[in-house]
């Protein structure tokens, strides 16, 4: 009879039982980086487009910029003068058709004489006008 001694693990006297602390979940900063990146990209593209807008000179053709907006009277006047007529590009060519064409074209061309001041009058930049 062999007493098989059941080997019992040796108990270490009075040793504290080591238990590992649960791992804290790692903070995910991806969303923050995405927000910062999107903001930076928006600023960059806005800056580039404004620079192109300014450098190309299109800003000078734009009357919707601050300080250059048309006045109320100007808008009302242009609405009154505006004609929706457009000569049709199809159809026959007869003297009556040309009469209609000329009547409307002349009305448009006559507006060239209606502007209240002389266009790009050189005197506007003269020494006297500027005051020296």
């Amino acid at each position: 009879m062999n007493d098989e001694k059941i080997k019992q693990p040796k108990e270490q006297p009075n040793e504290p039982v080591k238990t590992e602390a649960p791992e804290k979940p790692k903070k995910n900063y991806n969303l923050v980086f995405l927000g910062i990146g999107a903001t930076v990209l928006a600023f960059l593209t806005t800056f580039i487009s404004l620079k192109l807008y300014h450098d190309s000179g299109d800003i000078y053709l734009d009357r919707s910029r601050p300080g250059f907006l048309p006045e109320k009277e100007e808008v009302e006047q242009s609405e009154q003068e505006k004609s929706d007529y457009a000569f049709p590009s199809t159809g026959t060519i007869t003297p009556e058709v040309m009469d209609e064409f000329l009547e409307n074209l002349k009305a448009e061309v006559n507006r060239l004489n209606d502007f209240p001041v002389e266009a790009f009058d050189p005197n506007s930049l003269s020494d006297d006008t500027l005051g020296f």
Binding site: L61, P70, S89, T90, T94, F101, E108, V109, F120, F132
Partner: protein
């Protein structure tokens, strides 16, 4: 002998360079009265330039709209209709091209003029009246070009009317 040829060639080249070089007209000298006037009225001058720029923008929009309407709503469709009817008119076709080219030149010249005007406004006329005056002369030249552009476009549009009248006469 060779040295003589080289020195003669050098002299000839120098002479050609001097004769061929462009003569730059010196900017008109600013009198003391003008200088004093610019420095004293700098603020008022700036304000006048601002007002002028606004007025010019209005002028440009007004005229450009008329030329654009004449070209796109009248002359171009008339030419298309004439071609459809086998009655194409070379004069009207040339005028259509001419107006398009002149409109582009007008826009480009207006942009150039405004850029010069902006750079003029940036100069501190109290501190640099001479620089201000030199730039003012450039702006005047640029403005004169705009006036010529408008005169040319007016001529083209009036020519288009006359050509249309001639065409009408030929249909009777």
């Amino acid at each position: 002998m060779e040295n003589r040829i080289i020195s003669l060639a050098t002299i000839v080249l120098l002479a050609v360079a001097l004769v061929a070089s462009p003569v730059f007209a010196a900017a008109p000298k600013l009198s003391e009265t003008q200088k004093a006037g610019i420095t004293t009225n700098c603020g008022a001058i700036r304000q006048k330039l601002e007002n002028l720029q606004r007025m010019d923008s209005k002028t440009y929009s007004y005229y450009q709209a008329i030329y654009e309407t004449a070209a796109t709503r009248y002359i171009k469709p008339l030419n298309l209709r004439l071609v459809d009817n086998n009655k194409s008119n070379q004069k009207l076709l040339d005028l259509q091209t001419g107006i398009a080219t002149s409109e582009k030149n007008f826009s480009d010249d207006f942009i150039a003029y405004n850029k010069l005007l902006d750079s003029l406004k940036k100069i501190d006329c109290k501190v640099e009246p001479e620089t201000f005056y030199e730039k003012l002369i450039e702006v005047r030249v640029s403005r004169a070009i705009l006036k010529k552009d408008i005169e040319k476009l007016n001529e083209l549009v009036v020519s288009a009317v006359k050509s249309a009248e001639t065409l009408k006469g030929s249909l009777k």
